[in-house]
């Protein structure tokens, strides 16, 4: 059958990136987002240590190439659902550091008014759907986004991420099942960072490549080097194109390593030193820096300038966030329901047509 055939075709293909399709400006753009991702998170953990941030703080150190490379491969109309380690994806989609600082410092002006934690904010209007903590739930939800996009005649692709561990959830299976029989334009990117909290992937699944889970649905799959931002960009572009062409859903596994603990409180003592050392040498930012210099797309001073720009943006945004007020206490009980005025009784019975893109 064609689908399985296609799955086989895509099966072994390991992508290594060259970025031929990207001009200099965009190549440097990628570097900017990688660096901003890294530096914002470093600042967030500093704030955590200072006690200015409470609760869970999840680092994507070592995985920035996946967030940035994949989000960069999307078209403007596409919808992205980040997980808690996809701060970089949100930056690419236009989130500014100030929002992240406000959010983590639980301030009034934060995107979710101080109500929810970490990266749990956003909205379709900005091109993304935020997660809830319950892992796996985004797969069916993004299948629904893809379904609606098709009904509305938008030719959008829905992209979401899932950890190696979360591929064990029932929702992963139910979501891919529904997406596969409806051939929905959905790309599910498995961020295999070898660990689910303290649980190694071998205790999570008997598979070597989690991308093989695609074989249960007869859908295309791919495997990419998650520490090579260009490889991720290209693999995602291919997956997105397949999905847009009605050959989806597509399962793309990006192999990487979680370089810090599960969250700030966790020093990851359970991770073997050799494993950590091995991956330290494969830092996605250093790898990409070398590539930019080797291909003389940029000089080290170009790159320093970008780093400086990130740092100053962070300073500016952080002080803005620090001086921002906390939310009104009583505001926490607002917005549980739509304001009565929006309610059915008042809605006119006029026929509603779908707004289709011409």
């Amino acid at each position: 059958m064609p689908k399985t055939a296609r799955a086989r075709k895509n099966r072994q293909e390991r992508t290594s990136g060259h970025g031929r399709s990207l001009d200099r400006a965009r190549l440097l753009d990628l570097y900017y987002y990688l660096m901003l991702n890294r530096l914002v998170e470093e600042r967030l953990s500093a704030l955590y240590r200072q006690g200015k941030i409470q609760g869970g703080l999840y680092s994507s150190k070592g995985q920035e190439g996946i967030s940035v490379g994949s989000a960069y491969a999307l078209a403007p109309q596409d919808v992205l659902a980040p997980m808690i380690r996809n701060l970089g994806s949100m930056l690419v989609r236009g989130v500014r550091p100030v929002e992240l600082f406000l959010q983590y410092m639980q301030k009034e002006g934060s995107p979710c008014k101080g109500r929810d934690t970490s990266l749990h904010f956003g909205g379709i209007d900005r091109g993304f759907v935020p997660p809830i903590s319950h892992l796996g739930t985004l797969i069916p939800v993004m299948a629904g986004v893809a379904l609606a996009g098709r009904m509305q005649g938008k030719d959008l692709v829905a992209l979401t991420y899932i950890g190696d561990g979360a591929t064990s959830t029932g929702d992963f299976h139910e979501g891919l099942g529904i997406a596969s029989v409806n051939r929905l334009p959905l790309v599910v990117l498995i961020e295999n960072n070898r660990w689910a909290y303290s649980t190694p992937v071998a205790a999570q699944s008997c598979l070597v490549d989690l991308a093989d889970k695609a074989r249960a649905y007869g859908v295309p799959q791919g495997v990419a080097d998650g520490n090579d931002v260009l490889a991720v960009y290209e693999a995602t572009s291919r997956a997105v194109n397949l999905a847009r062409a009605g050959k989806g859903p597509v399962l793309l596994e990006c192999k990487t390593m979680r370089m810090r603990g599960h969250s700030e409180h966790d020093d990851a003592w359970y991770v073997p030193e050799e494993e950590h050392r091995f991956w330290e040498k494969r830092d996605p930012i250093q790898i990409y820096e070398k590539h930019l210099l080797k291909t003389s797309v940029a000089t080290s001073s170009d790159l320093k300038k970008i780093e400086q720009r990130c740092l100053s943006e962070i300073e500016k945004d952080l002080s803005a966030a620090e001086s921002a007020p906390f939310p009104r206490p009583e505001s926490c009980v607002e917005d549980v329901y739509a304001p009565a005025s929006d309610d059915s009784e008042d809605e006119p019975a006029q026929p509603r047509r779908l707004a289709r893109r011409s």
Binding site: I124, I132, T137, P140, V145, A146, Q152, G170, E174
Partner: protein, 327 residues
């Protein structure tokens, strides 16, 4: 002139009118398309609205509700059918954590309707007779409706589809084709507002507060009590979340004696919440304790004599009402 239709037909009319009116409305569920649904509620919809708007899904309730949430976030108005409402338990997490909390969390409303056949009385046994309302009534961000009449069934499904928040719509399978409750429905487009109870019978000695299939038994009981000289008022909640606290307060203050009747099991049932509301709002007016007639704390049994013993009925309501009246 128009003829009387069944409760089930009223739901079907409401669904199809809203699909006609609003292209954003679509349906998804198991066997709802080709087959028209296990109870034939969506019979003919596939032919009429096409397979893009009447979607047969795999067996995956959490996936179905998740997909409905995603489509809703995109501006659609999904209506998800649970083949039996008992299977909504498989989507519990999606409903209570994703759908219910999105608006509060970051301002994204999730208008959608989850509907399905609930309740006992048809020898369905423990997994085809459930009344899951309280699991959702206890979840802020959701709305829960449970029509007890044909007119309300249509008006509430239309209101649910137009509502800006997620609505659990509980249709009682015992009422689906019950000849007794057939009604001639208004010609025009009408809604029954969510959050408003309805006084289905006026009385002065005591109040029966109920909903769903128990409404019939309460009306029968009120009829019988009347002959005994006890004038019972019957308040049909219709919406369980948000509860119409004003209507509950009003009838409690009027009669001073309240009996809550629900088919759902006793402990943690909605009678408790209503009793608390009355305590808070009308304590001084009470001439007796708020009592309740409910199913006992057990699963719904299959065997006829067992289920008949298990479910509330007019006789049990009358017996409790007499005790309360004599108070």
């Amino acid at each position: 002139m128009a003829e009387a239709v069944t409760y089930l037909e009223a739901i079907r009319q409401g669904l199809s009118e809203e699909m006609e009116r609003d292209e954003r409305v679509f349906m998804l569920g198991e066997d709802i398309g080709v087959y028209g649904g296990a109870f034939k509620v969506t019979k003919g919809f596939l032919e009429r609205f096409g397979k893009d708007r009447v979607i047969d899904t795999p067996i995956a309730e959490s996936g179905i509700v998740g997909a409905a949430i995603g489509a809703s976030l995109m501006g659609m108005r999904p209506v998800a059918e649970m083949q039996f409402i008992d299977f909504i338990s498989c989507a519990f997490n999606m409903i209570t954590n994703f759908a219910a909390k999105s608006r509060w969390r970051y301002g994204a409303g999730v208008p959608l309707v989850i509907r399905g056949p609930s309740g006992g009385g048809v020898r369905g046994g423990p997994f085809h007779s459930q009344n899951p309302e309280m699991y959702y009534v206890h979840t802020p961000g959701l709305k829960v409706v449970a029509p007890g009449t044909t007119r309300d069934a249509k008006g509430l499904i239309k209101a649910a589809i137009r509502d800006e928040d997620p609505v659990i719509y509980l249709e009682h399978k015992y009422l689906y084709r019950l000849p007794r409750i057939k009604e001639v429905l208004p010609e025009e487009d009408y809604l029954v507002p969510i959050g408003k109870a309805a006084l289905k019978r006026e009385g002065k000695d005591l109040s029966l507060i109920t909903y769903g299939a128990m409404l019939l038994h309460c009306l029968d009981a009120a009829e019988a009590l009347d002959k005994e000289g006890v004038s019972a008022e019957v308040l049909d909640l219709r919406t369980l979340l948000p509860l119409d606290a004003d209507a509950i307060e009003a009838t409690a203050k009027k009669t001073g004696k309240v009996l809550v009747v629900h088919e759902d099991t006793r402990t943690g049932g909605i009678a408790g919440e209503i009793t608390a509301l009355i305590n808070e709002r009308a304590f001084e007016y009470l001439d007796g304790p708020v009592l309740r007639v409910t199913s006992p704390d057990a699963p719904v049994p299959y065997s006829a004599p067992l289920e008949d013993y298990f479910l509330p009925n007019a006789a049990k309501v009358i017996e409790a009402a007499r005790r309360l009246a004599a108070y």
